[in-house]
Symmetry: C2
Subunit: 443 residues, 2 copies
């Protein structure tokens, strides 16, 4: 769309941030006292707390508690202008971004578009699998699981029944492990009373991991414990296997094995979500922008990238930093500081990643944590790790109200073993129609 988008001009240097994930939002907030105009553009009107999406997908939390509307978070910030729009292209010559609401002029541009699900070019997989990157994905998975069980009640055929009850999760990183664990809890505590007529011994949860360990990147203790916990919970973990194809019904592995499921959850990879318009040589593999130690995109003095979309290569991180919340938050904070220094013509400060470690929860009382604090690493698995995971996620949520409601939900679920958000509202994924095989003809 040509023509300028209508945004008041404050007569101050304008910082345009594309994307309000962890990095973009942190940057926007940190610029609240800076002598700049901040324009935050996102295609949603809310920030998503991605680490808890899997709990929305598994009926543990309402979608509302993991999202926060930008205008609500930022409505006190006088130098901030939010725009709901999709960005189509960067025009670095004219210093504008082309968006669905018109051109947006910038003095400094920050790309914080995050990552998107990477199907590695497999269009059939993209069509049939369910991803876990957005609230809409999570709601769709919840709706699909519940709809499938309702349909399963009508089926007589054994294989058809299994296709509805069984789950295949691809990817043994935190998302895959956490979903597998949460599904195994539902299978144990919730589904059997909800669906008395179904036999949940028939419900199989398969977790497929291409490498030989789960939670790659964490400590060996964490990997081993997560494997043990999942197996104790009855999850069938397939190490060193890959999915070759999935047609919405049959999953074929590279070993020749086949599994049957209507619900394949793809948690096997993410890639950067770059914009068009910049020189191709500033994009590295995985769709991330090559940035210097100030998060400046190679060759563009006033364009920056932070978070998942940025690959800041160093000896310690030859592939760039891990695609997690912490690097994004820290880069957002530093960039706010550096933009202020840039305007004051002071030298910039280089980014140094403060790695706080990593954690993943497998289920009730079971998590693994590698915590880095004061230059030391603590590794713990089990109940203590689970308490830490719970506490850290709770305080990281945005807004008192969300924290309170999540705490309430968790406390409730902990003591009742219940997960209450079991409604079907919104989209359902149904790649292959289910044929109901009715019991018998009417007399």
């Amino acid at each position: 769309m040509e023509g300028l988008a209508k945004i008041e001009d404050l007569g101050k240097p304008r910082v345009v941030i594309v994307g309000g994930g962890f990095g973009g939002l942190e940057l926007a907030k940190a610029l609240r006292h800076a002598p700049v105009q901040v324009v935050l553009i996102d295609k949603q009107n809310y920030h998503t707390f991605q680490p808890l999406l899997y709990q929305v997908a598994t009926a543990g939390l309402e979608a509302d508690t993991v999202v926060s509307p930008f205008r609500q978070i930022l409505d006190e910030q006088q130098n901030l202008y939010f725009r709901l729009a999709e960005v189509q292209r960067i025009d670095a010559d004219r210093q504008v971004v082309e968006t669905s609401i018109g051109l947006v002029r910038y003095d400094y541009l920050v790309v914080a578009t995050g990552a998107t699900t990477n199907y590695f070019g497999d269009a059939q997989m993209e069509r049939n699998a369910i991803a876990m990157k957005s609230v809409e994905d999570a709601i769709e998975l919840r709706n699909t699981v519940l709809t499938n069980f309702e349909k399963a009640l009508q089926l007589g055929d054994e294989e058809q029944l299994n296709s509805l009850l069984d789950f295949v999760i691809v990817g043994g990183g935190p998302t895959g492990v956490e979903i597998a664990g949460a599904l195994s809890e539902l299978r144990k505590h919730v589904f059997p009373t909800d669906y008395r007529e179904l036999d949940f011994r028939q419900m199989d949860i398969h977790l497929i991991q291409s490498g030989d360990i789960l939670l790659k990147g964490m400590s060996a203790e964490a990997s081993q414990a997560s494997l043990k916990y999942l197996e104790d919970f009855g999850v069938q973990v397939h190490l060193n296997k890959r999915v070759k194809s999935y047609d919405g019904y049959t999953v074929t592995l590279n070993t020749g094995e086949t599994l049957v499921t209507r619900t394949l959850i793809w948690a096997a990879g993410v890639a950067g979500a770059p914009l068009t318009g910049l020189a191709p040589e500033c994009l590295r593999k995985g769709g991330r922008y090559a940035v210097d130690q100030y998060n400046r995109i190679q060759g563009y003095p006033n364009i920056f990238a932070i978070g998942d979309i940025a690959a800041m290569v160093s000896d310690a991180y030859p592939e760039g930093h891990p695609m997690l919340a912490q690097p994004a938050l820290q880069q957002g904070r530093l960039l706010a500081h550096n933009l202020t220094r840039l305007l004051a013509q002071q030298p910039l400060e280089p980014f140094r990643y403060d790695d706080k470690g990593a954690m993943a929860t497998i289920g009730r009382n079971h998590a693994v944590a590698d915590i880095k604090l004061f230059g030391k690493e603590w590794r713990t698995q089990g109940f203590l790790a689970w308490l830490m995971w719970t506490f850290i996620h709770l305080v990281s949520l945005i807004g008192f109200r969300n924290r309170f409601v999540v705490l309430l939900n968790w406390t409730w679920s902990y003591f009742t073993f219940d997960k209450g958000r079991r409604y079907i509202i919104g989209r359902v994924r149904q790649p292959v129609p289910v044929e109901a095989t009715t019991a018998k003809a009417i007399v």
Copy 2:
């Protein structure tokens, strides 16, 4: 679909209930110790607490707090079978209902399908207006309002801008009055900080009522107070006017006046949602089944109707009972009792409506209530009525958790003047595309 749906046969008389609203759910629960098999069929997997839908639509409550999954409510009830299905037709000769999952045999059938929005045959209105009968409607209204404001930021043209900021609500019953009041609160406390760039003095809220009073059916004091409160809140109430047509942009009234809006909320009428298959003579005007004082549909000894879909005509109620929660709940409870008596070959007890009065809330600290207790009527308007309204709606919600979260939301909103659920997730209604008129061409 031919062939029997797969539902275990308990060898007990089977009561099939179509619809899990107030009446159907109450009946199902009240039959928990009866020597029958209960089959509850609904096209959603959750019960909706309709009286609070308007708060979902106006960002005061998350959708999740006003719905409760049937399986969660009923999972302890051993004689109950829930089925997610659409009922297409009653076949009274074969004693089956035809559904999307196959035929369901019944010994006793209870139609509790409730009411649906009545557009009085105006197909254009149905296409362009937003209704307020389901959670999906409420979410759609919320999303549409928020999307319109985001779009309004880009508009220069005065009339186009007004079409996005202005609201027309048709119908001066409780729903219309409550939405008008809630929107006026958002206009005063929430929208101006969210959208600093818009001038909310331009946002008009029109309430159109065909009769000469609001809240027809309540006391004169209630009608007058609700009118006064709405006018104090800056709502433009049009009495004795009707909407002739709405094309998605221009509203034409019977007086010749026109209003411009992209958001017309239709709260002007409901009608019964009858099933096909029964003799046409048992349907009364308004799509309600004529039932005797035991809720039995005329001419069908083992088919009953309860709640909004039933018209039980008497001297006191020549049009049947009001289409509210109370008659439905009371009829559901009595029918459970009567079905047990029927099986024990005891005489049935006639229905007597215990009218507890009516109430409506207009906004913060302002409600009207006509309460009937111990044969006396108390009429109160203002703060006390508002407290009563708040308390009664809170305790009527299903489940401790929903009550708690709603209480938390209300307390929070009361002290902060905030309504926090301002995200756009799901459907948006956009009957006529908005042309963005951009500010100026780029230099």
